[in-house]
Symmetry: none
Subunit: 433 residues, 2 copies
């Protein structure tokens, strides 16, 4: 097991989001080491020394037979508020000493960028007596490795690029030798969009039962409901085979709302599908202001299926550019099934694409009415078997309404290309026939 | 002082980066409450209950005369791995009871989106006996407030939007009454785009000297260079006055690359300026795929200055929709000053706007040549005094190139509307006259 310490006022005060911890915890988990605690500590000498002592005490007392592990990041810079070296020395009950080799390395880093070493940087060549330095190929502050009460304690710089290299190249091989015969822990994810979290967990109730291996849980973020899988096994290969089997069960239980595994994105899954089938798409957006087009073109190679599109925020542009009839706008209003269908068809014809997607809605915060409250978005898809429209009802602020509507448009397109039912998208209601 | 607990396997394993903690720590710091520890705990009943007990014990023993504060987020969902309620009950030494009012609220949330409540969600109406619920306007899981050994313990959902509303509306007013007479720490930010961090720090060298109050530092994120200010004073009013004075000095030293304070965004500053001046803008985007338009229309009320725009990914669409001459495309290529200028003028004429912005470039990863490597983006602005083009050179992956190019387009537009020099944008080079 491991304890991670993040050091810095900017972290404790919330001015910076700590991404180092997630990186290290994920790297340790892959090697079968569970991070049981993260601690974030401000740049204060006493608090830092106490945190080192407490973390070492907890790890030394752990029932785990593997050696304890404490990794701290931050506070190794040259400025007055960088106190990690001193705090670690105090926790070890020793003083600081200067390492001549390290001093030469700091000097050579500066001469390499054509500068003289500022005197303050000399402190970066100091370390607690009895500890050793870890090389830092990307910066001036070397890392530190000490063994206290049998627990491996490492300190890395807080700069993510420097920390990552040191963690992977120096700390992992030392602290967690490969294939030590112990178990490994491998994670995976099945990504879904459209189905509610409670529906997902109901369909997966048997697979999610506690105490199973792999463990299966759900998380919701940015409208996506992810099914997280975690397998423990003697080897990485065995764990991955277990994950593969359960991910297949999850996909079978949930159906086509699953758009990919692990880091796959909805936009990438959609574009890949269009490219595979040799199909093209164009967009006509009002309330989403270009977001659907922007998402599709995030994907390298999307020019093979995306010709371009229109943002027709203004009614006059809906008519002039896409041929939406003035009478349709007057009779039904810009936020209506009729208007989005004419937008989608107009865009598809003008751009000569297989599919046209159109969106028009009330993203808020203003503009809502009783009949069409904020969060109402009409989405139309032209192509294949004619043109159809769906009404979306989204909760949340302007950014959330736009985001969910755009994702619904992509998932609609994906499901229609696959020939699948679109009723699994919880936010959408098809236009009355 | 405060202790924050983040709950969830996905956090402990590093599958998700914890942004909630930074948000809460920043909110507490503004009220003068220092977060002395963050703890991240996996979804395990025993570990969770122990974390609650330990946090309460530490806070109860704190020498700080203010009541102790523990805020946990996560693990209030409806699934089997959501164990926070049970763990809190165990730490309190009580059982769980169902709250009929809360049950009705969960039911009404589902009927509001036209669904029956899944049976599993019933658990979201349960809370430790003796605790009370906090309303959740954005989701189904109410928060929980309990007092243990005189320490205020709060639990919020992990979904950031739900946590943020609950933290600001329910927890802060209860846990940290305003103006308790203690010292306060107030932060502010001057946001800039275009100037490099080393240029910024050189111009601010005197203001950034160590040991001053307010302290001044720079951070770079997403291409923005933010100048962060932090003032300590006896009262919020005094601290804010100190920040105001130094923020003014920063803005005077850096000039119009400063687009706003605190949470102001570049897109909001740009749209607000256009609305103030009664000006309109349209967009013609190739490599950014709609991102400039999407950014402008993020701003509520942007329909007052944005009529719409085009994404002309395909050369045929550049000609058919915007009137770019086939000869210009053939002679100079799609990524050229000539083409973006014709795009910008065509869009401006078609949409009848004051300004037309056009972008065409090589976002990568493929498509680069020696003459036009990946990261080359031409940007044109039509309107005011004719049409001009700038060449941008951006480093980074596809998403970064698109993002920086779109932000440069907004900052260009903003500076031109203000009648300011555009040379302060480090990435751009004006077309040779």
């Amino acid at each position: 097991m491991a304890i991670l310490l993040s050091i810095g006022d900017e972290l404790a005060l919330g001015q910076t989001v700590d991404t180092n911890t997630a990186f290290m915890a994920a790297g340790l988990a892959e090697r079968g080491v569970m991070t049981r605690m993260h601690l974030t500590v401000a740049d204060e000498h006493a608090a830092l020394a106490a945190a080192f002592r407490q973390a070492v005490r907890l790890e030394a007392a752990s029932p785990d037979p593997a050696p304890g592990l404490v990794i701290a990041s931050g506070g190794l810079g040259p400025t007055e508020d960088d106190l990690t070296r001193e705090a670690l020395a105090e926790a070890m009950g020793v003083g600081l000493g200067t390492d001549e080799e390290a001093l030469a390395a700091v000097r050579s880093f500066f001469s390499g960028i054509g500068k003289a070493m500022p005197p303050r940087n000399e402190i970066q060549a100091q370390k607690p007596i009895g500890s050793r330095f870890l090389p830092n190929p990307h910066g001036t502050a070397p890392g530190i490795h000490a063994v206290i009460e049998g627990v491996n304690v490492f300190v890395t710089p807080g700069v993510p690029r420097e920390m990552r290299a040191m963690f992977s190249d120096a700390i992992l091989p030392l602290a967690v030798p490969d294939d030590d015969g112990g178990g490994v822990l491998v994670t995976s994810k099945v990504a879904t969009f459209g189905m509610g979290e409670s529906d997902v967990s109901q369909r997966l109730a048997a697979i999610m039962a506690r105490g199973r291996n792999p463990t299966v849980g759900t998380t919701v973020a940015a409208g996506y409901c992810s099914v997280r899988l975690r397998a423990e096994a003697a080897s990485g290969r065995e764990a991955r085979a277990m994950l593969e089997a359960v991910a297949g069960e999850v996909e079978a239980a949930l159906g086509p709302v699953c758009f990919g595994r692990d880091e796959e994105t909805l936009e990438n899954a959609t574009v890949t599908l269009l490219l595979e089938k040799g199909l093209t798409v164009t967009t006509a957006e009002s309330c989403t202001g270009g977001l659907v087009s922007e998402m599709l073109t995030r994907v390298p190679g999307s020019s093979g299926c995306c010709r371009g599109g229109w943002v027709t925020y203004d009614n006059a542009m809906k008519s002039a550019e896409l041929g939406v009839a003035a009478a349709t706008l007057a009779q039904h209003g810009a936020v209506s099934a009729e208007v989005v269908k004419e937008m989608a068809e107009g865009a598809r014809e003008h751009a000569r694409c297989d599919f046209g997607i159109a969106l028009s809605g009330v993203a808020g915060p203003g503009g809502g009415t009783q009949e069409k409250p904020v969060g109402t978005v009409w989405i139309a898809l032209a192509g294949g078997a004619g043109v159809r429209a769906w009404r979306g009802r989204f909760r949340g602020d302007r950014a959330t309404v736009r985001d969910r509507a755009a994702k619904c448009a992509l998932q609609l397109l994906r499901l229609r290309v696959l020939g699948e039912d679109t009723r699994s998208i919880q936010w959408l209601q098809p236009e009355a026939p």
